[in-house]
Symmetry: C2
Subunit: 357 residues, 2 copies
């Protein structure tokens, strides 16, 4: 520790705010000072659990000179107005993924933090999983040979429980359902591994849910590099998170036990990374043996890590957060392109989505 902890306030105090607080309160680089939600009950519960002050309005919170940064975990459609207010008040901003669910909102956020010159960090934590980092290293080192495509899936049972009363059950608040809420992580991982997406084709369905919301989604992406990816995301099934990477020399199979997703200090221990390659290679295709080798994963802590990177950026110790607003815009543009693709039955380019906002 070479600096005074960054003094932060939490804005939006639902379930995820508590998961995030569990991560940043483990860090010496961050000090939780205060918190705001429109719900007095949530303010009191959060304050009691984490031992912080509260404010009964966002304005009061943002007017406090002793608060340097805000951790925003409001519903998706409130990210833009909250972040604009925070940036205008000179506060650094962490916001959980997705950056927003409308392209105009995403661009307002990019402009607000840029104009204010504050540090902006976006919580696409999944690229910080040990398996993702080590898969990237193996790709970059040439260990897999030439990589052509990736398959990935992020699913859970949320769609079986939501109703239209819940914001997650509303298409304008969570477009694409699990695609916005879960697979936007995989989209960011693909951005990290394969660069920008060029175009998207998607099929979205509302199945096994009481909400008027899509719960079953399959999306194909073609990247600017020409490589391909499939993203499955299903809100009507027990938890799944996997990624398969196909190379000419080897294939990688990564997966984690979703039951541990929200406990980032141990999730890597509940993950596996398998490398498949040839154990023997002969001219006879019926006489070749494959072998699956388990790759040792070095434990990380994705949530804590992203908050410490945010604090380091505020103190000028690094060159800024890895996931910036432009990346967030790319990622949500893939979601919005998928939604339009499914509605119109055609592939949709990211250019079309990003440029029209």
């Amino acid at each position: 520790m070479s600096y005074q902890p960054v003094r932060v306030a939490a804005v939006g105090l639902g379930r995820w705010a508590n998961i995030m607080a569990r991560a940043y309160t483990r860090s010496e680089k961050i000090q939780l000072v205060s918190a705001f939600s429109r719900s007095e009950q949530k303010r009191n519960a959060f304050s009691e659990r984490w031992g912080c002050q509260t404010e009964d309005s966002l304005e009061k919170l943002l007017s406090r000179d002793d608060i340097e940064a805000v951790i925003v975990t409001t519903p998706n459609d409130q990210h833009a107005p909250v972040i604009e207010a925070a940036a205008a008040a000179g506060k650094h901003v962490y916001v959980d993924k997705p950056i927003a669910v409308r392209m105009d909102h995403a661009k307002r956020i990019e402009k607000a933090v840029s104009d204010a010159g504050v540090v902006f960090a976006l919580g696409h934590s999944a690229r910080r999983l040990a398996g993702m980092r080590q898969a990237k290293e193996m790709m970059d080192s040439g260990r897999l040979g030439g990589v052509s495509m990736i398959e990935t899936n992020f699913s859970n049972e949320r769609g079986l429980e939501i109703t239209s009363d819940n914001w997650r059950g509303q298409r304008h608040m969570a477009p694409g359902g699990p695609l916005t809420q879960l697979a936007v992580h995989n989209i960011d991982c693909l951005r990290y591994l394969f660069g920008p997406v060029k175009q998207v084709f998607s099929l979205l369905k509302s199945m096994y849910t009481k909400a008027e919301q899509d719960t079953v989604t399959m999306t194909l992406c073609e990247f600017e590099s020409g490589k391909l990816a499939y993203i499955g995301s299903n809100w009507a099934t027990p938890g799944v998170f996997f990624m398969n990477v196909y190379g000419t020399e080897a294939t990688l199979f990564y997966q984690l036990d979703f039951g541990w997703w929200s406990q980032s200090q141990v999730v890597d221990e509940h993950s596996s990374l398998i490398l498949r390659e040839f154990a023997s290679m002969t001219d006879d295709p019926d006489n070749r043996q494959l072998q699956d080798v388990s790759v040792k994963l070095i434990n990380r802590d994705m949530f804590k890590e992203q908050f410490e990177e945010f604090a380091d950026a505020i103190r000028g110790v690094n060159n800024g957060p890895e996931v910036d607003a432009a990346t967030g815009i790319h990622n949500i543009a893939v979601v919005l392109a998928a939604l339009r693709s499914s509605q119109e039955g055609r592939p949709v380019t990211l250019k079309e989505i990003i440029e029209e906002a």
Copy 2:
């Protein structure tokens, strides 16, 4: 054994003819009598290995009254003329998948065997894998709850080795590359599990190959039932075969070691079927445990089984082969729809493909 073995001849004596002979020569229900290939060298090698006679023309072979049936493993584009000749000569026909690679050929085959009243069997063996049979039983019994989607992949390294001299390296002989040669099995499995496909969207790429052939393919299918499937098939990577089935109560993960694919008497021993379900269910989504349970697979023998079903059908012991010409037409129509979808950048219905031929 309640009947005299069916006397068969092999037509087309490449690598796969030998894999098939290894299977049907294990059966008491089949007796290999003779064989034909245009290549004298292949005829002699096959005859020596399997202890059968040979003929130096298809006409001579088909004129023999003591041959009841033919096992056709010629290149795809020769299926139609060979089967038309065999059916006209009153021979029962087994042909390896795909039925053909042109819709007009597929329909000629359907008409020829129907007009001649011979037994017709199509070698979509993968639906006979233990994992496929047991997955179907679990779906039908309701064990998985409501099933919404399937992901499946069949890949190997063939594209790294083929050249345009080889028929597999030519788009008109193997359209879609691995989609025709490998994933047509998965298409048939999906037909078996989910019923007929309604429409297809696909991206096909030529990567890491010397041939002018697609090697990297990703396909989305929407079924007439509204369910969804993804099919990955990649000819530029070590062998992969998996299927994931997503249900509201449980998820199934099936895979096999491709190194054992061509040894059907043991391939099920080199397979695994995992059932994922909740070990505990609470109202708190952060406090639910998942468990993966290994399902015991009952060993089968997919190649031998399909030949014994063929022999039983010829002797009138069953109601005819499970996979008929109409199913073969459906399956290759999915491949041809994928090819057109990729070329034209739009979803393509099966109706469009099937009706225009």
